[in-house]
């Protein structure tokens, strides 16, 4: 028996469709899915080899229990019993807020929904967060306040209709290749391309204008561009008048901005700032595409607000080819946010502090009320462990020991816990610290829905049975809830049943069901009714919040600036074929071989200054730690900046990074760290 199973790629937020070739119950290969609207029969390398880790010999197939310093295999029954006892005990002894949970943007909507329900209902705390905190938390807060909806306004497929594409802080060709496809298409159809990035990322090769700004100076650059737009009268006065509010406040800040000052802060020549302003503001339809280069800053929310300002100032929103388009990182990070795997938001971005909305959700779950206080975010959880406030933790499918900033601190925290459960496919660096490890099924072994960037909800189909005794995360959570005597509300025969429940409490998903979602194109939220066709473009007639809100954002320097001891700025990112902490790509031979080890990119000028040789071993240190890695001397990075990909645990960039975070979004400043470098 041989068949192709259409499903969704497990890597980036683009959410391309793939066909898994299943032969005699085994996944044999991955091929593109021609009819899928995102991939259109094309894939990047990660997509083509997305099946490789499924049969990795490292897959966990049995629950593990830590006995002394080592793990012993145990039965599901026993593992769940131990966990249920420990969680109940902790809740009784130190209160529900002494427990914290991490959900996962690699898990389905159903799984995220179920875990946050478990946390809020069975445990009774809002201490649930996930890696969105590290990527687009600032987008959720920033675009939420400016527009009323913290998501990509347009769609990837919409980019070619643009006349000017402004990419800022995104290495699109490496990280969202199928979105980059649309940028290149737009470019070849005559659109202008502006890239703002401290590195010569591959997209920059095709740029009409490459703004090599210093890391952490996004607001200064964007304010400079807006200032120049106002100076030339390029703003869209009718749009500002009819559809927005707060312009006077913004203008007051921009009046204090000077382009000379912007040049001094950003390192981008004044003429280029003006050129960018002209290209962006005078094209018929301009879109902004951004990613971690904007969000991972102590001013992350402000960066996003500035982007929203720029789009509204020129009326580039609500039409095809325009918009503010955050490219979401994980395949389901949009969905896990939608599902309320966040400490302050219930499903559908309903605030836990909004009593009416909270009670409505509680009622749907058959409860009188839900926890009312916002819980702790990812970084705050680690702090709370150090402070002795959080003592028990449950991590579903995340690997904070590599992915979080200042991982020495994270390791110490996790070691300090009374009890840690990790649910994963592999014995990751984090799982090694756990007391109980639960084996989870892979993407090919379960059903559910994923929401890609562009708010596209689509169905993940099961291709094979779970390996060994591993189970899909939704089953594990259900069983755990039942082991903790929460029978009602956790009995689901399939993810489809979970979806039927979640769409009742998630307004954006109200009109969706599996039958509609099963079409190759899925549905884009909001889809409030069963006859609603979904929404490819947001804010067409009016903003979700009514009027778009300008925010007055003055420039603020990053938390750390280079000094005599740490004279360089470290900025982090990813490489094309590796994914985050490499728990999957590191186990995919084809992908791993392309970028097998870590490195640090350094400009030739700096290399000379610090006596660094190309391919030589170097030691990079910051206030928090040091790592050894190999140097790559290249003019890809500007002088004063070094770049390290975040994937490699043996040379982990996050040993160095700073956990200082944005006050609103609580996203850490992974993009700016003061470091020193010397030959090792």
């Amino acid at each position: 028996m041989t068949e192709f199973v259409p499903t969704i790629c497990p890597y980036c937020g683009a959410g391309c469709g793939v066909l898994l070739l299943v032969k005699d119950g085994k996944v044999t290969t991955t091929t593109p899915w021609a009819e899928h609207p995102v991939g259109e029969g094309r894939l990047c390398m990660k997509g083509w080899y997305a099946h490789e880790f499924i049969y990795s010999p490292d897959r966990l197939t049995k629950p593990l229990l830590k006995v002394g310093d080592s793990f012993q295999e145990t039965s599901w029954e026993n593992a769940l019993k131990v966990i249920a006892e420990k969680l109940s005990e902790a809740k009784a002894k130190d209160g529900p807020d002494s427990l914290a949970f991490l959900s996962s943007a690699k898990c389905t909507n159903e799984e995220n929904y179920l875990l946050q329900k478990f946390v809020r209902e069975v445990i009774g705390t809002n201490n649930i967060d996930h890696c969105a905190r590290l990527c687009h938390a600032s987008t959720v807060t920033g675009l939420g306040t400016a527009f009323g909806s913290g998501a990509m306004t347009n769609d990837i497929a919409d980019i070619p209709q643009s006349d000017c594409v402004f990419v800022i802080g995104s290495d699109t060709m490496s990280q969202h290749p199928l979105a980059a496809r649309r940028i290149i298409l737009a470019k070849e159809m005559g659109a202008k391309l502006i890239v703002a990035d401290p590195r010569r990322v591959q997209t920059a090769r095709f740029a009409d204008l490459h703004l090599k700004l210093r890391p952490g100076t996004n607001v200064a650059l964007l304010n400079g561009i807006m200032k120049s737009i106002l100076d030339h009268g390029w703003e869209n006065k009718a749009f500002i008048e009819e559809r927005t509010e707060g312009f006077a406040e913004l203008k007051a800040v921009l009046d204090t901005v000077s382009l000379d000052e912007a040049e001094k802060i950003t390192g981008v020549p004044k003429a280029d700032i003006e050129k960018a302003a002209e290209l962006y503001a005078t094209s018929k339809a301009s879109c902004i595409i951004y990613a971690m280069g904007i969000t991972q800053h102590t001013t992350g929310t402000n960066n996003v607000l500035s982007i929203a300002n720029l789009a509204m100032l020129t009326g580039n929103i609500g039409r095809p080819g325009t918009g503010v388009n955050p490219l979401r990182g994980q395949n389901n990070v949009q969905g896990s946010c939608d599902m309320g795997a966040l400490p302050d938001l219930l499903p559908g971005y309903q605030r836990v502090t909004d009593e009416a909305k909270r009670k409505k959700v509680a009622e749907a779950w058959g409860l009188p009320d839900l926890p009312t206080q916002p819980g702790l975010t990812l970084i705050e959880i680690m702090e709370a462990i150090h402070a002795g406030k959080v003592k028990t933790m449950f991590i579903m499918g995340e690997n904070p020991v590599v992915s979080d900033p200042d991982i020495t601190h994270v390791e110490e925290a996790l070691n300090k816990l009374d009890f840690l459960v990790v649910q994963d496919m592999f014995l990751t660096e984090t799982a090694r610290l756990a007391d109980v490890v639960l084996p989870a099924a892979s993407w090919a072994e379960k059903e559910g829905t994923f929401t890609g960037t562009g708010r596209r909800v689509q169905v993940l189909r099961q291709a094979i049975a779970p390996l060994g005794e591993s189970k899909p995360d939704w089953q594990i959570i259900g069983e755990l809830a039942r082991a903790m005597n929460a029978e009602k509300g956790f009995i689901f025969a399939s993810p489809k049943e979970i979806f039927e429940e979640l769409r009742k409490v998630t307004p954006q998903y109200a009109g969706m069901d599996y039958a509609r979602l099963s079409q190759p194109q899925g549905l884009q939220w909001p889809c409030p009714a069963e006859d609603h066709p979904g929404t490819p473009i947001l804010h067409t007639k009016q903003f979700t919040r009514g009027k778009g809100k300008f925010h007055a954002i003055p420039y603020q320097a990053p938390a750390e600036s280079p000094d005599a001891q740490f004279p360089l700025i470290l900025t982090t990112g990813r490489v094309m074929t590796q994914w985050h902490t490499r728990s999957m790509t590191g186990r995919s031979p084809s992908l791993n071989a392309e970028f097998p080890e870590g490195f640090v990119e350094i400009n030739p000028q700096d290399a000379k200054k610090f006596k660094i040789n190309d391919k030589g071993l170097v030691e990079v240190s910051s206030r928090r730690g040091k790592i050894k890695t190999r140097a790559r001397v290249t003019d890809k990075v500007v002088p004063g900046v070094v770049y390290i990909p975040m994937h490699y645990v043996e040379a982990a960039a996050n040993r160095l990074t700073n956990s200082r975070f944005d006050p609103q979004a609580k996203i850490p400043e992974l993009k700016v760290t003061a470091v020193a470098i010397k030959p090792a």
Partner: protein, 344 residues
Amino acid sequence: MTKCNEIVQDIVRSMLRAKLVDEVVAFGRGINESDIVPLFITDEKDAEKIVTISYYPCSLAKLVALYGDRNKKIGLVLRPCDARSLVELAKRQQVNLANIYSIGIECYGVVRAGSNSHQVYIFPDTVQMDGETKPLAEDVLAPNCRRCEYMVPTMTDVAVRLLPDGGCLVDANTEKGQAVLEAASIAVTDMPALDLTALKERAARWKEKDFGELKKMAAKDRLHYWLAQWEKCIKCYGCRNACPICYCKECYLEPEKQIVKNEALPPEALFHVGRLLHVGDSCTDCGQCEAACPMGIPVSKLYHMLYEELSPLFDYESGFDLATLPPVSTISDKDLTKTGVTLD
């Protein structure tokens, strides 16, 4: 167009019923009418999913070479270019043609992946889209199809011709083909010869257009054109993975071979040229490479251009005669009579 679909489905059912084959590989309906996916059919009742519309999202010959069971008898419903690829794969010992029953469908071009492919049938000068007949606008065709002059599946066991009125003609090219038609109780009819003049003229015109503008360039400009195209590459390996002729299990484009450097984006030009060296002499211009390229590199144009140069040089037409081997892995008797360092 249901009648032709029915006939092809009938043939497939009969092949399975008569146990001529254990499995049939063909394109069929997936999730909906326009979702066309490869099917591996062992149960005759699944034959009803098979479609014959002008869309061909991947190479079935390659699928069979990679994942088909060599000891099984396999039926294949394919287009002429893919049938040629099948012959090339057989030359390279990747498929056992003796075990394959091929049903070729006459093809005047496929529609590009990504456009609406719902029920499109292309004929020499008309196109039917969702039941509506219109004059053929050549730009709906995939670029390689516009250059194609091999519309007739002469290299398959059974040849099927779709007719614009919904009808269908069937012929057997081989004894195996006759057995298939016998099993399906279809009388072997000699198909009326096609006048391919207009289609060959179309191919020549598009070749002139596609290749001509490159050939007219100064060499250096042409070099920079290709280098610029290759700079768009994101090294997805899609062209290699989609190419039916790329069969090596150990591929020398891969990092461990250290011929093409890893850890670099875009990959060095050798990534493209290396593959061109390997398959350029045998390219069947099926266009799968270009359809798989996320960055819109005109891959098939390059391969076809080289093939057109090599074909007369080596007197080699790829994909027809099983007995002629790929030109650079063989030498001819004529070679032995020539002295000097060139083949002239």
